[in-house]
């Protein structure tokens, strides 16, 4: 099938983790190459000249960048459980929610944790608004993908795993069981799933990473 390499960071990036999740779901053998983003390798600069960011998937000597694009690529190329739904309308909805998570959820919640004062207050409001939409979307479903993990679950990894950890480190309450019972339940379901938990980065390592920022 051709050689597969994944240019990743030092194991902390949710974006790289999305790609790892997809590759493992499909049972793809790959070489993980850790990039030092303060000292980018020629390989990274060659295969992602536009953004110079990770993750980059190199397959058969060709580079693909942007985590959600890579995940769709993996779904298209390799056999195994479907990451995107087969039905065109369900696919469109999955793409919509994945994009929404990237555009509205991650930046708002990240800012809410790391900023202060007025900026933090504004980001907190934006976070609540964004998380409400996800709360409604997950109602009545085990995963965003239905019975099985799909694109949106993979995209929401930051919300499910990284955000609670950062919240704990920074003492900023965002995704609480009281305010978002369904999303809370999903986060626990997702992160304790036997398959997923093996692929998520070690919690202590993440805590240490965020404490040192």
């Amino acid at each position: 099938m051709g050689e597969v390499k994944l240019l990743g960071g030092l194991g902390f990036s949710p974006y790289v983790n999305r790609v790892e999740m997809a590759l493992k779901l499909k049972g793809v053998e790959y070489e993980a190459i850790a990039e030092d983003l303060k000292n980018k390798s020629p390989l990274l600069l060659q295969y992602n000249p536009v953004h110079k960011k990770v993750p980059v998937l190199i397959h058969d000597g060709k580079g693909i960048a942007e985590s959600l694009i890579i995940v769709e690529y993996i779904d298209q190329v390799w056999e195994g459980p479907s990451i995107l739904p087969k039905d065109p309308y369900q696919r469109a909805m999955a793409r919509f929610w994945a994009k929404f998570i990237d555009e509205k959820c991650i930046s708002a919640t990240w800012k809410a944790c790391w900023s202060t004062g007025e900026e933090q207050a504004k980001s907190k409001d934006e976070s609540v608004e964004a998380l409400k939409f996800l709360e409604d979307e997950i109602k009545g479903k085990k995963f965003f993908g239905g019975d099985n993990i799909g694109l949106v679950d993979i995209a929401a990894n930051f919300i499910g795993y990284w955000l609670p950890i950062i919240s704990e480190v920074k003492g900023v309450q965002l995704l609480t069981e009281e305010d978002f019972p369904n999303l809370w339940r999903w986060a626990n379901e997702y992160c304790s799933d036997n398959f997923v938990k093996e692929i998520l980065p070690n919690k202590e390592a993440l805590v240490a990473r965020f404490k040192s920022r």
């Binding site: 536009v50 953004h51 397959h59 060709k62 693909i64 960048a65 942007e66 694009i69 890579i70 769709e72 690529y73 298209q76 190329v77 065109p88 309308y89 696919r91 469109a92 793409r95 919509f96 994009k99 929404f100 509205k104 939409f133």
Partner: protein, 220 residues
């Protein structure tokens, strides 16, 4: 059962035009509804409660939002109608998606200079914008279309900027035709496709929309 297809749109919108172009090239019958963005319809607010924006494609009462998502949806649902817009090859498909997203982001980041008054902000924005035109020119190269030999997804994504070129040129006092000949030839080539040219907004119309709105913003 016949398909019921409604497009909630706004005539000068580059994003709305993508849906119009995709529907037209695929020969899909649909009802076009022009939205008043100052007074959005109930259907728009219900169909896109998250962003409350056009375009929204409502297909048999199912709403699809986001211009690139709509174009891909149209390509997948009407897959038996040519042309196929997304490349079949997974790598080419990924590249098309990547470039469409990238250029869109860049235009959104830099395109606001046309709303600024004369000065440093406008010049800086214009400079950033010109960089994207250079990149598009280089990406196109000697290919007849961004998709290669045939009009495809990336062409749908990018041709909808062309009705705005006249506005950019007038605001920035520069000529896209002179500076970016490959891009200009590509636009002309796209306009030769009837379903594309009838879907794009008229550049004069776009300029009138822009100058009316700019005057309003200035409080005139």
């Amino acid at each position: 059962m016949a398909d019921k297809v409604i497009l909630l749109d706004f005539y000068p919108s580059m994003f709305g035009m993508r849906a119009r172009v995709a529907l037209a090239v695929k020969g899909v019958d649909y009802e076009h509804r022009e939205e008043d963005l100052q007074n959005k319809s109930q259907l728009l607010l219900e169909s896109n409660p998250v962003y409350k924006e056009i375009p929204v494609l409502v297909h048999n009462n199912n709403p699809v939002c986001g211009s690139f998502i709509i174009v891909q949806y149209i390509d997948e649902v009407w897959k038996d109608q040519s042309p196929t817009l997304l490349p079949c090859d997974p790598y080419q498909r990924a590249q098309a998606r990547f470039l469409a997203d990238y250029i869109d982001k860049k235009v959104m980041e830099t395109g606001n200079w046309i709303w600024s008054e004369e000065g440093q902000e406008k010049e800086a924005g214009k400079k950033g914008f010109v960089e994207i035109l250079k990149q598009m020119e280089s990406e196109l190269g000697d290919k007849p279309f961004f998709g290669g030999n045939a009009f495809g997804f990336l062409d749908v994504a990018l041709v909808t900027y062309s009705p705005w070129f006249q506005t950019y040129e007038t605001c920035g006092s520069f000529s896209i035709e002179q500076n970016y000949p490959k891009l200009s030839s590509w636009v002309k080539r796209c306009l030769e496709i009837e379903s594309v040219s009838k879907s794009l907004a008229d550049p004069d119309n776009v300029y009138n929309f822009y100058s009316t709105l700019k005057k309003k913003k200035r409080g005139l």
